[in-house]
Structures are given as C-alpha cells and as structure tokens.
Amino acid sequence: MDETGDFALLILGIETSCDETAAAVVSDARRVLSNVVASQFDLHAEYGGVVPEIASRAHAERIRPIIDAALAQAGLTFADLDAVAVGHRPGLIGSLLVGVAAAKALAWSLAIPLVGVDHLHAHLYAAAMGDGSDDEATIAARYPALGLVVSGGHTALYHCASPTQTRRLGATIDDAVGEAFDKVAAILGLPHPGGPAIDALAAEDGADDRAFDLPISRLDRDSLDFSYSGLKTAVLYAVRGNPRPRDRGGGFDRDHRDLSHAQKRDVAASFQRAACRAIIIKLERALDELARSESDERKIAPHSDQRGVRSLLVGGGVSANARLRREITALGRARRIDVYMPPMSLCVDNAAMIAALAHHQLTTHGPADLTLTAVPTTGA
C-alpha cells in the first residue's frame, strides 16, 4: 500500500524503439522507482567489448541485464510486478521486436497483463506526470492539453484530451528538428551529439542570431506541419558557399574550416533562432485553431463540457535546448497557459514514460493480448 492507502500498481516498462535499450519500474503512473537506459549504463565493462550503436542484436544483448537492473534499483523482483508495458510503435521494426518479444515473454510467464504503448504518446505523458510529487488529480487537471514532441526522430503536435486520448494535429514532412540540429552540427564540423554543441555555441557572448538570414518554415497558411529540410540546405549554402562546377572538381567553394569561430557561432545562433521560431509559430497556430474550434463547439452546444486547452506538454530530447525552453516558457506566459517540460531523464528516450502511460491505458482500455506486434508507424 502507498501513503494514500491505495494498493500501488507496479508496472515494468520496456523501450527499444531506436538506439536506447531501456527499462523502468513505475508505481501508479507517476512515481518512478527506477529508470535505466543502456547508454548510461556500463555495459562495455560487463561485456568487455564494443556495444554496437544500432541494431537489434545490441538490444537483444542488453535487454535482460537492463530489466534486471531496473528491478534491482527499484528493490523488486519479477513476482512483485502487476503488469509489463512495451513501446511497440513507432520505430525500427527489428529493434521494436526485441522489446515486444521480451514483454510478451514476461507477461506470459508471470501471467500478468501486457500493454502496448505508442512511444510518442508516452513522451507527451512524461511531461504531464512531472517529477512524481503531484497527485493523480493534479495531473488529470493538466488536460486537455496541447502536446509537442521534438526529438531526433520526431517533430509532432497533438491535442491531448486525456493521457490516452490524443489526436495528431501535424508533424514534420521531412527532417525532424533534432535531425536538423545534428546535420547542421555536421555542416559546422561540431562534435556529436549536435544539439548540445549548437546550443552551447549559440549561447556564447557576442553570438548574433540575425547574422544570417535563414528561412523560417511556415508551410501553408493554416498548416500545423513542420519542415526542416529547407533550413538545413540554407545553412549548407551559408557555410559552404556555391557549388563548384564539375570541371573544377565539384564540391563547394569552402567548408567549415574556412569559417572563423565567430562566424560559426553566428550560424549556430541564426539556425537555432529559425528552428525555434518555426516551432513557436506552429504552437501559436495550434492554440488559435483549438480556441476557434472550442468557441464553435460552444455555439452549437452552449452547455458542452468541452474545456479549453489547459496546458502545454513538451517532450523529446530537443526540449532540453535552452533557447526552445525559454521561448516556449515565454509563449506560455503570454498565452496564460501552464507549460510542462519533463526533467532531462524523462525528455530523452526512456522506459519510465512507457510504464507510466501504460497505467492509464490499462485502467481505461484493459490489457493487450499476446498477438501484440511491433508497428513501424505511429498511431493517431
């Protein structure tokens, strides 16, 4: 029993959608008892060799020790678990399959419910659940919400009526914002990972975020989709000049080594400004759009219990970017709407968010059966 007198529901979460192998135990959809991510875990020592970056074999090798570590850190055994949840979509099919197979095997052998969770919906819930100090009613009062997922693989906007009722409003039509950060870092010759490197460079004294006039993608007038491919190409031309004709060897006039540190700093700042601005424009459009449809709803049904958007939920690794955090916070203040961004450990890919959202899915929709499969695409 927990302090409120209820029996705690303990859920093991598993996440293998991309590079990270992760497992976590969460109690009652909000208290994170353990949260283990392989890249932060010293498996190199354990296996005495290189752990491949990508690939299902890496997940397959890591998954057992990671699950064991998640249980050990929570001070639990398999017998204590009430359910097992897995991020089963979207992602690389071979990677997802490892997590799905592990979760099914555990659910079957322990005879406990199985839950399949959409990785993107879990990122949104990670923002709403906060740091574990809020009670269930407080978390529920954050909905309906506007949700934003910004990461290396995803850039998407959602309307969230509740943790389990989401509707996708828009998404990137080409590169994800985190991918743009990484590729611009590569163009500038900055070390990997690119996001923090650009963030740091752009924050240096003297950085001029208007030194380069880079395009801010808006797409159609009422589009809620994103596009980062044009911005990436504009940075390429700003850094490398013009392409050389083929008879002069092809390639470009120059590369990042020909730029001074101040120029690189200004490119980073100008890129970051354009990348963040595009997100803020889409958030503003989405808030306007949702307010409009809400007022239409009220005209038709004056006593409708439909409520306006109460908060802004932001998840995914790019939400660690200092400028984006600052601009989103300012937007929230201007629009009088609360903004929730998870701590770093829950921004990046992790399994705690999977286990936490699974609690709501289990109580509202019930468990999945053992025919649960890995799905490469996201749901609504």
Partner: protein, 219 residues
C-alpha cells in the same frame, strides 16, 4: 550499366524525372541514392513515392529510425532506408538492421546514403547520384542494371517533360535518350511507332476527359 543524366532546375523538373523513374520500378527492386547533405535525396524519394501512389506528406526522413515503410496501392511495399548513421563495415550490419525483413520480393527499396552500405550489397541495384549545381538546380546521374532498360513503362506513363529537351528514358524501351537523338524522346524509330501503336490499340488511354489545353501541347 546504362547511364543517363538529367539536370533539374526546379522541383517540377524533378517531379517529371521521378514519374519516369517510378514507371521503371518493380517490386523487388533496390535503388541506392547518393549525394551530400541537402542534395535532395529525401525530396526525390518523396516524389517517387507520390508517383507510386503514396501520400507524399507521410514521406519524412528516416535518418533516426533508419527505415520507414509505406504500403503501395498494389499491396506491395515501399521501403525507405537511410544509411546515414550506419558504418557499412561489418557484413552482418544489414542482417542486424533486419534487412531481410525490410526488403523482399514485394518491396521497392530506396536507400539514402547508399554508398555507406554499397560494399555490403551483392544483389543487382540501380544507383542515383545527386550533385548540387546551384541552390535550386541538381544534376542526377542514373545508373540502371542492364535488364531494367528493356522494361516497359507502366500503362499511363508519365507525360514528356514540359519544356526544354533534356536526356530522358525512352518510354518504350526504357533506354536513355539524349536530346539530339533523331527520334527523341524515343530511342529508335521502331520505339516511336510502338508507342503510337499503343495509343491506337488503347493500351495507352487518357484517364480523364480531354480538355482544350491538352490540344495545345506540342505546338
């Protein structure tokens, strides 16, 4: 390997090229795309996907998740892979990626940054190399396997490029045709007559009512 080149100065040109290429593609085909950052690999794949019947809005960059799959109208699959993050050194890398699961006789497979895994690929494939010419223009160098050249385009093949003669693929034989060829855009007189015969025999049809504007073309 038959090689052809196309210079596209805008997106409409690239869309025309994509429709021609899409007509040549069959389930089981593999195409490697190369070119530096910002060359337009994802853009070309989006246009190819659109020509194959996929909603272009869902064709995004798979750099992070490595692969995206799109169902095609015929019940087959379009598999869009990005090898940007792959090393291409270990022969088992493709296997670890789930290559056999992703690719198959029912899949048209398009790979961005194909050069990174080209050394691991033993099966027949086409290669498309994209070069920056200026901010809006790109040069496409297309190498097709020998036997793809004899493929016939699907019924309802793409219309000829709107303006300016540029190297193209013969709609009948699939062979590359240069703008100064005597029977452009066909590779031979025989191909030209074969194309006309397809109209007469109604294996080519216009899928909508003919409008006045259609009759102005070619003047």
């Amino acid at each position: 390997m038959p090689r052809s080149e196309a210079l596209c100065t805008n997106l409409a040109d690239t869309a025309t090229l994509s429709r021609r290429l899409a007509d040549l593609l069959r389930p089981g085909d593999l195409v490697l795309l190369d070119g530096p950052l910002g060359a337009g690999k994802t853009t070309l794949i989006r246009l190819l996907a659109e020509a194959l019947g996929v909603d272009p809005r869902v064709v995004a960059s798979p750099t992070f998740v490595i692969a995206h799959e799109h169902p095609l109208p015929a019940g087959t699959r379009l598999v869009h892979i990005d090898a940007y993050r792959l090393g291409g050194h270990e022969p088992e890398e493709l296997e670890l990626l789930g290559w056999d699961h992703l690719t198959g006789p029912d899949a048209i497979v398009l790979v961005e940054w194909g050069e990174r895994i080209a050394g691991l690929i033993t099966r027949e494939h086409a290669t498309i190399t994209i070069e920056h010419v200026d901010e809006h223009s790109r040069r496409f160098t297309i190498d097709l396997p020998e036997d793809w050249a004899s493929r016939r385009p699907a019924i309802g093949a793409a219309p000829p490029a709107a303006a300016g003669l540029r190297p193209t693929l013969c709609p009948v034989t699939g062979q590359p045709v240069s703008p100064d060829a005597p029977h452009y855009p066909f590779s031979s007189e025989r191909a030209k007559w074969a194309d006309l015969y397809r109209w007469f025999s109604e294996s080519y049809v216009v899928g909508r009512p003919i409008e006045e504007a259609d009759l102005d073309q070619g003047q």
